[in-house]
Amino acid sequence: MSTIEERVKKIVAEQLGVKEGEIQNSSSFVEDLGADSLDTVELVMALEEEFETEIPDEEAEKITTVQEAMDYVTANQ
């Protein structure tokens, strides 16, 4: 069973086309990993699918880094 960190990083890597090794917990999707606005929407949708949860828009807006994604998933398991 993969950890939340591994699962989040795998999704980020797939969605943004970056290597998992390049992804830090502090990485910002837009500033560090080159995501555009549509990428961030798709990323949130992919997280919703992976963790079988619905992330409301106002929460989704606050998820801008890998750590924030992990924190959200952990808090809403």
Partner: protein, 250 residues
């Protein structure tokens, strides 16, 4: 163009029981797509299924109310489970409720805007997730020559169709990076049930304004929609193709 260039693709065509929508469904089928055609009634859906079967096209007719968000969501879920995500969407369903502006009722305005314009928002939004995931998609909206020319008694219809063309350009910019193209086809006067109701005198007057001197056939619109769905049209997006016998040259 290969005969089966859309093989393996699922196409969703709204308003496919007659007229342009029916011709589009058959054309996409001829190109190899599996076609889901929608109608507002069970009888309409059955007639679509029969038409597809007779033409040996895979797919079926389904009931859809394009003004009902839940109906759209349910249909997309059903299609995705049974066939896979539709990557070709043809927004064709449309109505007219003509009236001179000074007599137009709110209900006539609202019904036309909801069925012709908001429906495009609903179905496109519902299909986009599958398309972005696939990194391939085609959204083709059926507009009208009336969007650019205007027509008396059709302020509601013209507004809805001009809205569709603006929607087309905006969405094309949003999703271009995902290899999804969004285009409109603007038919002129085509021989369908929608134009059949026009008075004979008005039809004669119309034909006089058309350089090709006749109404168009649904198949002549379907051919253009089919082209936009195929690979050779991959570099066309945000565009409105005008197919009107020359009555509105631009």
């Amino acid at each position: 163009m290969t005969q089966q260039s859309l093989a393996g693709k699922i196409a969703l065509v709204t308003g496919a029981s007659r007229g342009i929508g029916r011709a589009v469904a058959l054309e996409l089928g001829r190109l190899g797509a599996t076609v889901i055609g929608t109608a507002t009634s069970e009888a309409g859906a059955a007639s679509i299924s029969e038409g597809l079967e007779a033409a040996k096209v895979a797919g079926q007719g389904k009931v859809l109310n394009v003004t009902d968000a839940a109906s759209v969501t349910d249909l997309l879920k059903a299609i995705t489970e049974e066939y896979g995500a539709p990557l070709i969407l043809v927004n064709n369903a449309g109505i007219t409720k003509d009236n001179l502006m000074m007599r137009m009722k709110d209900e006539e305005w609202d019904a036309v805007i909801d069925t012709n314009l908001k429906s495009v928002y609903r179905t496109s939004k519902a299909c986009l997730r599958g398309m972005t995931k696939a990194r391939w998609g085609r959204i083709i909206n059926i507009s009208s020559v009336v969007a650019t020319m205007g027509n008396l008694g059709q302020a509601n219809y013209a507004a809805s169709k001009a809205g569709v063309e603006g929607f087309t350009r905006s969405l094309a910019r949003e999703v271009g990076s995902r290899n999804i193209t969004v285009n409109s086809v603007a038919p002129g006067f085509i021989a369908t049930d929608m134009t059949e109701v026009l008075p004979e005198a008005q039809k004669e007057l119309l034909v006089k304004q058309i350089p090709l001197a006749r109404l168009g056939q649904p198949e002549e619109i379907a051919a253009v929609v089919g082209f936009l769905a195929t690979e050779p049209a991959a570099y066309i997006t945000g565009e409105t193709l005008h197919v009107n016998g020359g009555m509105n040259m631009r």
